[in-house]
Amino acid sequence: MLRFIGRRLIAGVVLVFAITTLAFLLLYLGGGDIARRLVGQTATQEQVAAKAAELGLDRPIWEQYAAWLGNALTGDLGRSWFSGQLVIDGVTSRLMVTLSLVIGATLITALVAVFLGVLAALSGGWVDRGIQFLTVLGMAIPGFLIAVGLVFVFAIELGWFNATGFTPLKEGFAPWARSVALPITALAIGGSSSVAQQIRGSVVDALQKDYVRTLRSRGLATSSVVFKHVLRNSLSPALAVLNVQFIGMLGGAVIVEQVFQMPGLGQLSVGATTQGDIPMVMGLVVATAVIVIVVNLAIDIAQGLLNPKVRLG
């Protein structure tokens, strides 16, 4: 088991390294004359050169990369070229907002998906067909469109609580929950649709397994076989698809946040990318890559713990 975790950990670190290297090269080499863009078309050649020297852009790319990587390993991702804010501060403060949405949406997704998936697989008939149709719809409609619809209904038609904005958790659970309820709903509809389909499929598969028949032949009721053995065997594929959904919702949150005007990664990234604030964009890439890899690793380990063949083998 330790070797298994070790292998996954190394693969994750290599992947983060590869992604950040690629992103660095593309961002610093792909955009043409960065200094010229920053100072504007009307600036003189001297002003451009001065800007390049100030930001270290006149050094060879590998030197810039080595410097960035060295600092990054100590937790220093540089400063914004525009606000002068530390990139690490800018990213982490926004990340908390985005993560609270995504984690909330993942938990809701897991609950709703297990309920709908098991219900569809066991009921069959029109309940099954109805759930299947709804989940296809839920997967098809983009999350931000659902978000726009929710804002419209709750803020304008019903004139309920402030549909937009964000209240930090430290100002109390209820205000926080109220401010994240709609965005989480918008994110979780697509996620739970997709995971519910997966769970339905694996429960249907598991029900056909020989051991289910054998356990029933020993006098166990179908329902107890389903809730103990079938669900346990369906968990592994469900976790895998939940992992993929987590990554998808992380991306979806960026847009959904903007709909609800929440100060998350979305706001940060839109500002940074339109200004060409490359250190901030790099910070964004590093942060998301690390989160994704950590979640992948956690799911891998959970899968290993769940599977006796890996755990003991």
Binding site: V148, G219, K228, G251, G276, V285
Partner: protein
């Protein structure tokens, strides 16, 4: 958005008929509605801008947020531009940009999949790495980062998104090619001198065409969703209207003119829904087509419901058999089993079986695969697979009919008085639970034992069935024991509740020859020790001769001959029985039957 993962798509068997697939798609009303809608959107994208009444980019300061009417179908936006005209231009740009993503993904994914699947080697490793890298970041984050480099063009964003989506085509093609590559007809084509390119385009692309079309529909939906999201964020070029940027414009004036949000929302939502429903309908059609091919083979022996039941040839009891067996335990009369088909019809696989099992007898049920032996035994257990049911007849166990009641009839005896030993030992143990827990759980349920008592009984049973270290096996997971051990565990589980009838479905077929005889000996010993009746399903007359008192010969869902083993061996009446006995003479099984000279015609 939250659905960046395309659907898993079944790879069709090469034999799947394309015509059947298309016919199934066009029979589905949802698919037709989706196709009609998408055709309209496509037309609007091609000719729409030419038909637009006004220039969608011209802003008229006097018409800001003016409502519909007076030459404007949908009114004016926050900058005084005609929404209908702008929507038509946006449709062209949004659809063509999404197509750019699709084409990039297709070209790269399919080419890479063909090459890596066909030539393997380092190509495969490289692409696998690239795949996991593109999977590691949410697409929208990559696109946002790329915006800093490539600028606000929606087309460039979609080129990058196409790159990100290419792994989904890559995996699809790679899996199919790897599978097809091993097929004999590809070898044959190669021997016949066809070039690699020719083989790939003719044989392999033919197989993956349908899955690629399905995936393309999904990717198109995802591209539109992502593109609209990106444009909604306002990082696009304000001079090029897209559905996403129009939605953003509408969202900004939500409080003053909420209806402006509606049109781009409908365009985005309905298009992604139509594409997804179409993909789904095509996937269903593909699955059904593949399944129809499989089903046809599987139920080849199936006959319409109510096929006539010719009389079974019966042998009278001899003194020896009568002495060994007691009163009637299970009486099966005119049992018919059928399977519901998707089209509403029922295919009958057991056509009226009569079977009498007496207390303490070992009754062989013999016949070739597909003759309905297993279906008959599942019907007795009340454990027919999904879609299967008893169509008629009666199953009377100890005087009570199990069929006429509901499933409760079976629940009262299953695992208590009737037990079951399966054929395949490994697949019949749940891999996620220890062997011990799978023995203890039923014992506690059916016999009401305490945890400790159930554990002790399970350990004693494991020792009884010849497992050398019961404690260790009790704590082991199924993958840690051998097939022979697993079969002993299953036998222990079956006899754990002291049943009156044990149904053993080819209990030795999946085992090594050396273990087969041991397992048969074990069943024989347990039979006399527990005074059980045994229904032994087998295709091997050697096993019948070795173990059984009576035997019933089954063929195509019917019992053709039944009687004491000696009598049937000595004077088989049915041609089929004779041919089975002849076949046995050719077998070199571990157990040779005690042949009576001249008994076999």
């Amino acid at each position: 958005m939250s659905q960046e993962t395309p659907l898993p798509i079944p790879v069709a068997a090469p034999a799947a008929k394309k015509s059947g697939f298309l016919r199934r798609v066009f029979r589905n009303p949802v698919a037709i509605a989706a196709i009609v809608f998408l055709t309209l959107i496509g037309l609007a994208a091609i000719v729409g801008p030419m038909l637009a009444p006004l220039d969608g980019n011209r802003a008229d300061a006097y018409k800001i947020l003016a409502p519909a009417g007076e030459g404007s179908l949908l009114g004016y936006d926050g900058a005084g531009r005609d929404i209908f005209s702008r929507l038509l231009s946006a449709t062209q740009i949004s659809i063509s940009a999404a197509l750019v993503a699709l084409i990039v993904a297709l070209v790269i994914g399919v080419t890479a999949g063909l090459l890596a699947g066909y030539y393997k080697g380092w190509l495969d490793t490289t692409f696998t790495w690239v795949t996991s890298m593109t999977m590691a970041l949410p697409g929208i984050i990559v696109l946002l980062a790329a915006r800093a480099v490539v600028g606000p063009s929606v087309y460039w964003s979609m080129v990058i998104f196409g790159l990100l989506m290419s792994p989904s085509f890559y995996r699809l093609v790679y899996a199919s090619v790897s599978a097809v590559r091993e097929e004999l007809y590809v070898d044959a084509a190669r021997v016949a001198g066809l070039s690699d390119t020719r083989i790939m385009s003719r044989h392999i692309l033919g197989v993956v065409r349908a899955p690629i079309i399905i995936q393309a529909s999904m990717i198109m939906a995802i591209a539109i969703a992502i593109q609209s999201g990106l444009e909604f964020l306002g990082i696009g070029d304000p001079q090029t209207p897209t559905w996403g940027s129009m939605l953003a414009d509408g969202f900004d004036v939500m409080y003053r003119q909420p209806v402006n949000m509606l049109w781009p929302s409908l365009a985005i939502g309905l298009t992604t829904i139509a594409l997804t429903l179409l993909a789904n309908a095509m996937r269903d059609a593909l699955e059904r087509t593949a399944m129809a091919g499989r089903k046809k083979r599987k139920v080849a022996a199936g006959l319409p419901v109510g096929t006539d039941n010719p009389a079974t040839l019966r042998h009278g009891d001899d003194a020896h058999t009568a002495e060994r067996t007691g009163e009637v335990l299970l009486e099966v009369k005119d049992l018919r089993v059928g399977y519901d088909q998707p089209d509403g019809s029922v295919i009958e696989v057991v056509h009226g079986v009569d079977l009498t099992i007496k207390r303490g007898e070992v009754h062989g049920l013999i016949g070739e695969s597909g003759s309905g032996k297993t279906q008959t035994s599942f019907a007795v257990l009340g454990l027919l697979p999904t879609g299967g049911r008893v169509l008629g007849g009666s199953l009377v166990f100890e005087g009570a009919d199990l069929v006429s009641g509901t499933t409760r009839g079976h629940a009262a005896v299953r695992g208590k008085k009737v037990a079951y030993i399966p054929q395949e030992p490994m697949s019949n143990l749940d891999p996620m639970f220890t062997i011990g827990s799978q023995l203890v759980e039923p014992l506690r349920k059916t016999m009401g034992l305490s945890k400790q008592a159930a554990r002790e009984r399970a350990l004693a049973l494991l020792a009884r069935v010849g497992i050398p270290e019961p404690e260790r096996t009790f704590n082991a997971y199924p993958h840690q024991v051998s097939g022979g051990m697993a079969q002993r565990v299953l036998i222990a589980g079956a006899v754990s509740s002291d049943p009156d009838l044990l149904i053993a479905d080819e209990p030795t077929t999946a085992l090594d020859v050396t273990i087969q005889a041991e397992v048969l000996d074990l069943i024989r010993d347990l039979q006399s020790e527990f005074h059980m009746a045994v229904l032994l399903v087998t295709h091997n007359f050697g096993v019948v001769a070795d173990l059984c008192d009576r035997v019933s010969v089954m063929k195509e869902g019917l019992i053709v001959e039944t009687g004491p083993v000696r009598s049937i061996f000595k004077a088989p009446k049915h041609d089929y029985t004779r041919s089975l006995l002849d076949a046995m003479l050719d077998e070199d099984g571990p157990v040779r039957p005690p042949l009576v000279p001249g008994g076999v015609a």
